[in-house]
Assembly symmetry: C2
Homo-oligomer: 347 residues x 2
């Protein structure tokens, strides 16, 4: 990534200002992969079916509700980038989406989220237990898809990613409300809960194209850094997004006492009454109605959003650099643009 916008311009003005030029990078990638994505959507609907009616009902609530399909797109895109000409990427992309959806369903239980993707969360509609069990079904079904595909290497990559995701989520749970959480631990959390699946989704594209280890590692590296940037931005948006565009309430992380990057920055800079504020609201989870506004004020003061985005941009730069191992092509360009887009998105 050469033409990165300098950190000074990455603050709230970027989130609240005019639409950045890279905003539709994801749309362009989707268009490039239209045929494969359509096939993936068909595979998703076909393979989430079950004689137990509640399963497709509840799964459809998330899987078929028209999410961005970012993770499966990465598998489709990296397969294309590597010149793969078969059809295995389709069911493996579906498999990646199933794993992602399973974690969303389980995350709904965990976070007691009210809103997910702009509509009532599956949890709110169907209850905790159904979310857990349908998540389990999708997870198991993902492994059945991989077994049908027949590659032990793909199974190795995605089972390892699945274990790492769970570890990241548990680590996040143990850091909740813990003011001693270090930046290092925060990065461990997001590497596990988010970046690991991005990395695996990208690596799989290279593996099925039978590319050399160095190229598979480069794809993995791109996905990992992209995932880190993506989650950093997500965590920044939870304190700065346009609520209508984001499609979910802001301040969720604050209410749950999550030690995300903007909070870590704020705590590090806080003294006196401000430090006491964070100890009370995040450390002890004692919050009043006006606390979120106060928190937002403290964050603006230290440009927490801008600094989060600068951090994310470093990952974007690294992600794009990893792709330099591949010759220039429309797909390489599209993947680089998607990475740059992560720090420009507002939803």
């Amino acid at each position: 990534m050469r033409e990165v916008i300098p950190p000074g311009n990455l603050g709230r003005d970027k989130l609240d200002g005019a639409t950045p030029v890279t905003t539709d990078a994801l749309t362009r990638l989707t268009t490039l992969l239209e045929t494969e994505l359509l096939a993936t959507n068909h595979a998703i609907v076909a393979r989430m079916d079950s004689p137990v009616a509640l399963i497709p009902q509840l799964a459809a609530h998330l899987v078929a509700s028209g999410g961005k399909r970012l993770r499966p797109l990465l598998t489709l895109a990296t397969a294309r980038l590597c010149g793969y000409e078969g059809e295995r990427q389709v069911s493996l992309a579906a498999c990646v989406e199933f794993i992602h959806t399973a974690t969303l369903l389980h995350d709904d239980v965990v976070d007691e989220s009210v809103l997910r993707r702009g509509s009532a969360s599956a949890n709110a509609v169907f209850g905790n237990k159904a979310s857990v069990l349908v998540g389990d079904f999708l997870f198991a079904r993902a492994f059945q898809l991989m077994v049908d595909d027949g590659s032990l290497e793909v199974l190795r990559i995605l089972s390892a990613a699945s274990a790492t995701i769970a570890e990241g989520e548990v680590l996040q749970l143990t850091t909740q409300n813990d003011l001693e959480t270090t930046e290092q631990k925060y990065f461990d959390v997001i590497r596990g809960k988010t970046a690991a699946l991005f990395a695996a989704a990208c690596e799989v594209g290279g593996v099925i194209a039978e590319r050399a280890a160095a190229e598979c590692a480069a794809l993995r590296s791109y996905g990992m850094d992209l995932g880190m940037a993506f989650q950093l931005v997500d965590d920044a948006l939870d304190y700065s997004a346009d609520q209508a565009l984001l499609g979910k309430t802001i301040g969720d992380d604050f209410r749950e006492g999550k030690l995300t990057y903007p909070v870590l920055l704020s705590i590090a800079a806080a003294e006196g009454e401000e430090a006491e504020f964070w100890t009370r609201t995040i450390g002890r989870g004692e919050q009043t109605e006006t606390d979120l506004e106060t928190a937002l004020g403290f964050m603006r003061k230290i440009d927490a959003t801008g600094r989060s985005l600068a951090r994310a941009d470093a990952f974007v730069t690294s992600a794009c650099a990893a792709l330099e191992i591949f010759p220039d092509s429309p797909m390489r360009q599209a993947l680089m643009d998607v990475a740059r887009y992560t720090t420009a998105r507002r939803f």
Copy 2:
């Protein structure tokens, strides 16, 4: 199974009377497989480790707390029955136990509606969130163990079982409080949530021994029928067990409005006020403190426990018959005894 006790003797007298001769069948099987089971326990402890401390802590709460290890024992036993002389059964037995433990952890997750009815959750120590996520970790780790083992056939069997378990659990959820639930649907539920993993655990033993399809199918059939019997007895015990021996409170299924076999029998036999009782307590979930006692009275009247055990014994007979394909051996005898033991156990 030739010397099966006739159904007439299988009622409460069996559950409340003297220790049946077959009670220690599981102990004998455990002794026969002592070395492999010890190795399995080591594998379990080694592979549930994680840098995220809460994972081994919580997993140990269940995995390492000295359960009966019935399911992994089945993998060890069937491998031995088939003359398998390698070591793969050890990690695959651990894998089966991980899948089982994951389902237990997820089964602990309760809906708020259930909590409101005053039912204490078994995961009170760690909470819903951690139970879900550590279950996910164990599930993913189980697949990593299978990938290390390297057999796509084993992966196929256990990923299919995992999907079927989730389907069974969801089906159970949708039949909860539904008085229209048929006996057929109840059997579908227990085949999914319980018998599928017993079947898979047994089949894997034959697969790693590279036995012919007919023998693998026989092992699968034995496991399936054993699992059906096991769950039928479990459901009967929830209304008739010695609470101290069972190690858990009885009446849990009643409070949760589960349509288990004893309830189905009772509803089918009920008229007038008795029918209204079931509609209120199970159908609408409106229960008072004395309702469980009343329910137990109705069940005694129709010998619900005896009839449940008779049904279970039919599955036991079928399970033992499936093993006739193998020549007689101490291990075949032990497996048949374990099957017979399921309808004699009181805890």
